[in-house]
Amino acid sequence: MDNSASFDASLAPASPISPSSDDEALTKVDPNYKTALRISVSLTAIPFVIGAFVLEGALAEAGSPIPFGVIIGVVVFAVLAFIIRLPNRRWSARGYDMGPDRLRVVRGILFRSDTVVPFGRVQHIDVDQGPIERALDIATLTLHTAGNHNASVKLPGLKHAIARDMREDIRQRIKRDSM
């Protein structure tokens, strides 16, 4: 917590620049993003639930001491937590900030990552929509850079129109900058 303690006396002190302004300007992505997450999590969960039923049935037939419903209960509970709770948290952890010459993308609950891509370094831009995203009218904006790390920075959960506008906006700024 205390950053100043981390420096050796012989080394330079931490900068006085306050970072607090960094987190306030973030724009939230579309709430439909939560729905999209819920749908895809539900689809992923189906095999697990089926597996739980099968396992439970097999165990019951083999005459195991575990009372019926324990495994199913645990799995269903976990799935429900993933469907109801997690998308909310992921949605609130995600945000972006469109600056005059850069895009900032923040994501992650446990492992947070805060990436800034300057428009001057964007190689090309994608706006993608999967079937779920299309039904919910949201899209994923991807900025590609030439760097090895962060070769493509994704920003999902934008309203489709906004994503397209952002793409045009960024594209124009690249053009203007290079002239």
Binding site: S113, R121, T145, H149
Partner: protein, 556 residues
């Protein structure tokens, strides 16, 4: 192929080119590689034929004592071996000739095109402006025949890069100059490009002109010193590999314990009869032997790879030539250098020796960065770094260390991992082999403590410095490595935090670098944000296209 296109009224000329690429423009010629390259590939297929032939010829006399049997069957097996060898070599030669016939390259206005393939054809086009560097490589055999392999590095990496094997030396050199001229032309506007290409056409070799200024060379004395530090036991690995190869061909069981036991009984009887001193002497001699062989291997490898090492600053960039049997000649433009890495190794560091690499999109013999000074003192490295428009961190650069919290957390995590390993080992041995439990538990724990100690010490050397035009990061305790990147050539900046990092308020700074990775761990969050803000301001001031365009100050 496509029958629809060949209507009776239009006669389509049968040339080597396929329909995949635009037609060849006026003044463009379709070229073939040198016919001598057929000789090279035939000879190398002959090389492949020798081993099986010899093995078939001599491989099947199971009992060498039975001379009579060998006279009967041995001779016929020699004939069979010869036949098989000839078959392989002949097939190789035929195929080499066919593929030579079917490979053509075209030097176009905008790109270079290569079409190849005997059965399945492939056509590849590479625009000049995307060529990162052109390297010439002469292996021993082609060198005898005056041939050279030309490689065009595009940053696509490895097999995706375009290479022409083999051209005559003169043609290779001409092609390289031509590509370089065209590339400069593309980058500085078409008119100029045409002019330059004309100039190149009328005055061949004008670019090469005077030899560039030598930045770094290594003479035999330096190579000898270098070789001393390149201790290598590769030769034993090769021997082991060879033994295993023989094992698969002969009835020679190297993995059979009884074979070695018998050998030891036969040969080792005298060993047991010797006194303790003699045995100790034997062990010492063995160690000396391994050391001598290892050093000799290192020496030979170093001399072979680095012989005649010469790094030059030419009008268009850096040029590096080296090699004893295999000659290589690489040219890289200055503006393609994305960053520099100064590395070293444990022992040589004590004597002040370092190596310098350039990070770029192109690859160098499979490695991701170009070695420009494999073995040099820091005062020799400084000027090369300056030439690449970087500079070594200045005396009064403000170095920032990783946080104490970062050190403690990484040590704790490592220890936890080792403790887990110890618990698993203890559990497993307690069940299966109780008498080893103590040892199996003690080893991971000891390793963990050792690791923690190293982590504790190395933290002192983990630091970074932000300067006006560049950012430098340093890490490593026994062999410190310094990475320097130009701020303006970075592509993105990320601040990443795991759960512990968030709790203790530090972060890892990932810098998006073309052709390389650069991450600075354990930076206090405030500092990480400040660095990011400053770097981004530098980046945002210059567009990528300007970065590529302003690239060659040498064009004028």
């Amino acid at each position: 192929m496509t029958a629809g296109e060949t209507s009776p009224s239009v006669s389509v000329p049968r040339t080597a080119r396929s329909a995949q690429l635009p037609p060849i423009g006026a003044g463009e010629t379709v070229n073939r590689t040198s016919l001598l390259s057929v000789v090279v590939s035939t000879l190398s297929s002959l090389q492949n034929a020798v081993v099986p032939a010899v093995l078939i010829a001599f491989g099947n006399f199971a009992t060498p004592s039975d001379v009579a049997m060998w006279w009967v069957f041995g001779q016929s097996s020699i004939l069979i071996g010869l036949f098989v060898g000839l078959l392989i070599a002949g097939g190789g030669a035929g195929f080499s000739y066919l593929s030579w016939r079917r490979l053509t390259y075209t030097i176009g206005e905008q790109d270079i095109r290569v079409e190849s393939g005997v059965l399945s054809r492939s056509a590849r086009s590479v625009p000049y402006e995307r060529i990162q560097d052109v390297s010439l490589e002469q292996k021993f055999l082609p060198r005898l025949l005056g041939l050279v392999a030309v490689k065009f590095e595009t940053g696509a990496g490895g097999a995706d890069d375009l290479s022409l094997t083999y051209l005559t030396e003169a043609e290779g050199e001409r092609l390289r100059e031509l590509v370089r001229d065209r590339r400069e032309g593309v980058e500085s506007g078409v008119d100029k490009g045409v002019e330059e290409a004309d100039a190149a056409g009328t005055a061949p070799g004008h670019v090469r002109g005077a030899e560039g200024e030598a930045l770094f060379t290594m003479g035999p004395r330096r190579l000898f010193t270098f070789g001393l530090f390149e201790f290598s036991l590769a030769v034993f690995a090769v021997l082991a590999g060879l033994l295993q190869y023989l094992d698969s061909l002969f009835d020679f069981e190297i993995w059979d314990v009884s074979f070695w036991r018998e050998l030891a009984d036969e040969q080792g009887g005298w060993w047991l009869e010797m006194g303790a001193y003699a045995q100790a002497l034997g062990v010492a001699l063995g160690i000396v032997f391994v050391f001598v062989v290892g050093s000799a291997t290192g020496m030979v490898r170093t001399f072979n790879r680095e012989w005649g090492f010469r790094l030059e600053r030419t009008a268009r960039g850096f040029r590096r030539r080296r090699g004893l049997l295999t000659l290589t000649d690489v040219v890289m433009p200055v503006h393609r250098v994305q960053g520099v890495t100064i590395g070293t190794r444990f022992v040589r560091y004590r004597f002040g020796w370092h190596s310098l690499r350039f990070v770029s999109l192109a690859q160098d013999a499979g490695s991701t960065s170009h070695v420009v000074a494999p073995f040099a003192k820091l005062e020799e490295i400084g000027p090369i770094v300056e030439e690449a428009e970087f500079h070594l961190p200045s005396e009064n650069a403000r170095w920032y260390r990783a946080t104490v919290a970062y050190r403690n957390v990484s040590i704790a995590l490592d220890l936890a991992l080792f403790a887990l390993a110890a618990v698993v080992a203890a559990g497993a041995t307690a069940i299966f082999a109780p008498k080893w439990t103590l040892l199996a538990t003690a080893i991971p724990l000891a390793l963990g403590v050792l690791d923690a100690g190293v982590g504790f010490l190395s933290w002192r050397y983990k630091r970074h410095a932000l300067e006006d035009s560049q950012i430098a990061a340093m890490a490593g305790i026994l062999a410190p490595t310094t990475k320097i990147a130009t701020r303006v050539k970075l592509h993105s900046v990320e601040i990443a935090q795991g759960p512990f990092a968030r709790h203790f308020g530090y972060a890892t700074l990932h810098l998006g670098m073309a052709g390389g990775e650069m991450a600075i761990p354990g930076v206090p969050l405030d500092r990480a944000r400040e660095v990011r803000a400053q770097v981004l301001d530098t980046i945002a001031a210059t567009d990528f296209s300007e970065l590529e365009g302003q690239s060659s100050p040498t064009t004028a």
